[in-house]
C-alpha cells in the first residue's frame, strides 16, 4: 500500500519534472513576469471553475424531470448585472496597471548597459560584440551586467526570443529595435526566432551562455584576435572617404561628427531629433531625409555599399567620437 502510494508520488514527481510549468527564470525580470503569469492563471482557473461549477450544479439540480415543467421565469436582476460588470472591470484595471508598469520598467535599459548588436538573416542569428568577437547562433553574456541588444534584420522580419529571460522583440529590416536584460543565473539557455521567416524558421535557433564576468572577459580576450567594432568602423570611415567631408576639425563640407552622438539636432524640416543609432543609420542610407540647415545636400547614399553589419561598425565608430553634453541619456539618473 505505502509502496504503491510512494511510487505513485514518484510518478507524479517524475511527470512534473518532465512537464515544468515555466522555463528557467534566469533574468532580473523573469520572476516578476512569472508572478504576473501565475496570478493570471489563478484568475483564469478560478473563473473557469466557477462557471463550470455553476453549469454542472444547475445541470443536476434543475435537470428536466418532465416535459411539462413550468420553470419560474427570472429575467433580470440589476444589482447582479452591475456586480458582474464591475468585478471584471476592476480586475482588468488592476492587471492593466500591474502589467503596464512592469512593461515600462522593462522597456528602458539602464545607462550602464553593455551593448551587443544583433543582425537576423535567413536563417541565422549574427551577434556582434563591440570588443570584436562575432558569433553565429551563440550569444555569450556576462552575469549580473545589464546587456542591451540593438537589433536589425537584413531580409525579412525575425523575432528574437530568449524564454529564460522573458524577453522578445521583432527584428525588423530597415529599423533598429532593442531589448535589454540582466542575466542572474549562469547557464545555457534557448534562443529562438519567433516571427515566421521562411523555410528554416524553426532552425533559426541558438544558445545563450551566461558566464561569470571574469570568464566572460577571458572569453572576449581569447580566441582569434578580432578588431573591435570601433576599429572596423574607423577603417570603413577611412575607406569610404567619409573623412573628406566629415573632418574632425569641422573644415569639411559636412558637419564634424565629434561629440554628436546623443545630442539633439535641429533638422532642416524644423524637427528636432536626438542623434541615436536610428538617425545615424538613416543618415548613411538615406542622407537627404535628415538634412541639416547649414550644410548643402550633397551627401550620396551609401545604401548597397555597406551592409547592416558595416552600418553598425560605422555607428560604433561615430559613438566612439564622444557624446554630446546635452544627451538626455546622461541627464537621466540611473535606475
Amino acid at each position: 500500500m505505502i509502496v504503491s502510494i510512494q511510487s505513485g508520488l514518484l510518478c507524479i514527481h517524475h511527470l512534473a519534472s518532465l512537464i515544468p510549468l515555466h522555463p528557467p527564470a534566469a533574468s532580473s525580470i523573469a520572476q516578476d513576469v512569472d508572478d504576473l503569469h501565475f496570478t493570471l492563471t489563478g484568475i483564469t482557473l478560478f473563473f473557469t471553475a466557477l462557471i463550470f461549477g455553476c453549469i454542472f450544479y444547475f445541470m443536476l439540480k434543475y435537470r428536466r424531470r418532465s416535459d411539462d415543467e413550468q420553470p419560474e421565469q427570472v429575467v433580470m436582476n440589476l444589482p447582479l448585472e452591475i456586480t458582474w460588470t464591475a468585478i471584471p472591470t476592476l480586475i482588468c484595471a488592476g492587471i492593466f496597471i500591474w502589467a503596464s508598469a512592469l512593461y515600462i520598467r522593462n522597456s528602458r535599459p539602464p545607462a550602464s548597459s553593455t551593448e551587443i548588436f544583433v543582425i537576423g538573416k535567413q536563417w541565422m542569428w549574427h551577434l556582434q560584440h563591440p570588443e570584436g568577437p562575432r558569433e553565429i547562433n551563440e550569444l555569450h553574456v556576462p552575469l549580473n551586467v545589464p546587456v542591451k541588444l540593438t537589433m536589425t534584420s537584413q531580409d525579412v522580419i525575425h523575432g528574437f526570443y530568449i524564454p529564460a529571460f522573458r524577453v522578445k522583440k521583432d527584428v525588423v529590416p530597415g529599423m533598429y529595435s532593442s531589448i535589454w536584460f540582466l542575466a542572474t543565473v549562469p547557464g545555457t539557455y534557448h534562443l529562438f526566432c519567433t516571427q515566421y521567416c521562411g523555410a528554416e524558421h524553426s532552425q533559426m535557433i541558438g544558445w545563450v551562455y551566461v558566464m561569470e564576468p571574469t570568464d566572460y572577459a577571458a572569453w572576449l580576450a581569447g580566441g582569434a584576435k578580432n578588431e573591435s567594432m570601433v576599429e572596423t568602423g574607423a577603417r570603413l570611415f577611412d575607406q569610404l572617404g567619409c573623412e573628406a567631408c566629415h573632418a574632425a576639425n569641422n573644415t569639411g563640407r559636412g558637419p564634424s561628427l565629434l561629440g554628436v552622438y546623443g545630442k539633439p539636432e535641429k533638422l532642416r524640416d524644423g524637427s528636432t531629433r536626438i542623434v541615436d543609432e536610428a538617425l545615424i543609420r538613416q543618415a548613411i542610407v538615406n542622407p537627404n531625409s535628415v538634412l541639416l540647415p547649414n550644410y548643402p545636400s550633397i551627401m550620396p547614399t551609401f545604401k548597397g555599399q555597406v551592409d547592416e553589419e558595416q552600418v553598425l561598425d560605422l555607428i560604433a565608430y561615430v559613438k566612439s567620437l564622444g557624446t554630446g553634453e546635452n544627451a538626455p541619456n546622461e541627464r537621466t539618473p540611473n535606475q
Binding site: 528602458r108 537621466t332 539618473p333
Partner: protein, 109 residues
C-alpha cells in the same frame, strides 16, 4: 412618402460653389503658407464633400438612419488612421526613467 424634390436653383448654387472651391484650392496651392497649405486644402475638400453629400446625395433630407451610416463610415476611417498614427508618430519615443518618465516625451515635443 416621396423623396424630397430639391429645386434646380439649389443644385446650380451648390455646383457653382463647388467650382469656386476647386478654383480656390488650386489657387491656394500657389501661395506659400507653410504647413497650412495642407490644412487649407483638406478643409476645402471637407467643405466640398459636405456640399455633395448634403445636397447632391440628399443627406440633408434623409432619415436619421442614413446619417448614422455616414457618420459611422467617417468615424471608422478616423479610427483606422488615428490609431495607426498613434503608433507611427510616437515610435521613436522612449519613456524616461522615474515615476513621471512616461510623460516626458510629451513635454519634449
Amino acid at each position: 412618402m416621396s423623396e424630397h424634390v430639391v429645386p434646380v436653383k439649389t443644385y446650380v448654387g451648390v455646383f457653382v460653389a463647388l467650382i469656386c472651391l476647386t478654383a480656390l484650392t488650386t489657387g491656394a496651392a500657389y501661395i506659400d503658407m507653410g504647413r497650412f497649405n495642407t490644412v487649407v486644402a483638406l478643409a476645402i475638400a471637407v467643405v466640398k464633400m459636405m456640399l455633395v453629400v448634403l445636397f447632391f446625395m440628399h443627406l440633408k433630407y434623409s432619415s436619421g438612419m442614413t446619417r448614422i451610416v455616414v457618420i459611422a463610415g467617417i468615424f471608422w476611417l478616423g479610427l483606422l488612421i488615428s490609431l495607426t498614427l498613434a503608433d507611427e508618430l510616437t515610435r521613436h519615443w522612449t519613456p524616461n526613467a522615474g515615476p513621471w518618465g512616461l510623460l516626458l516625451p510629451f513635454l519634449h515635443f
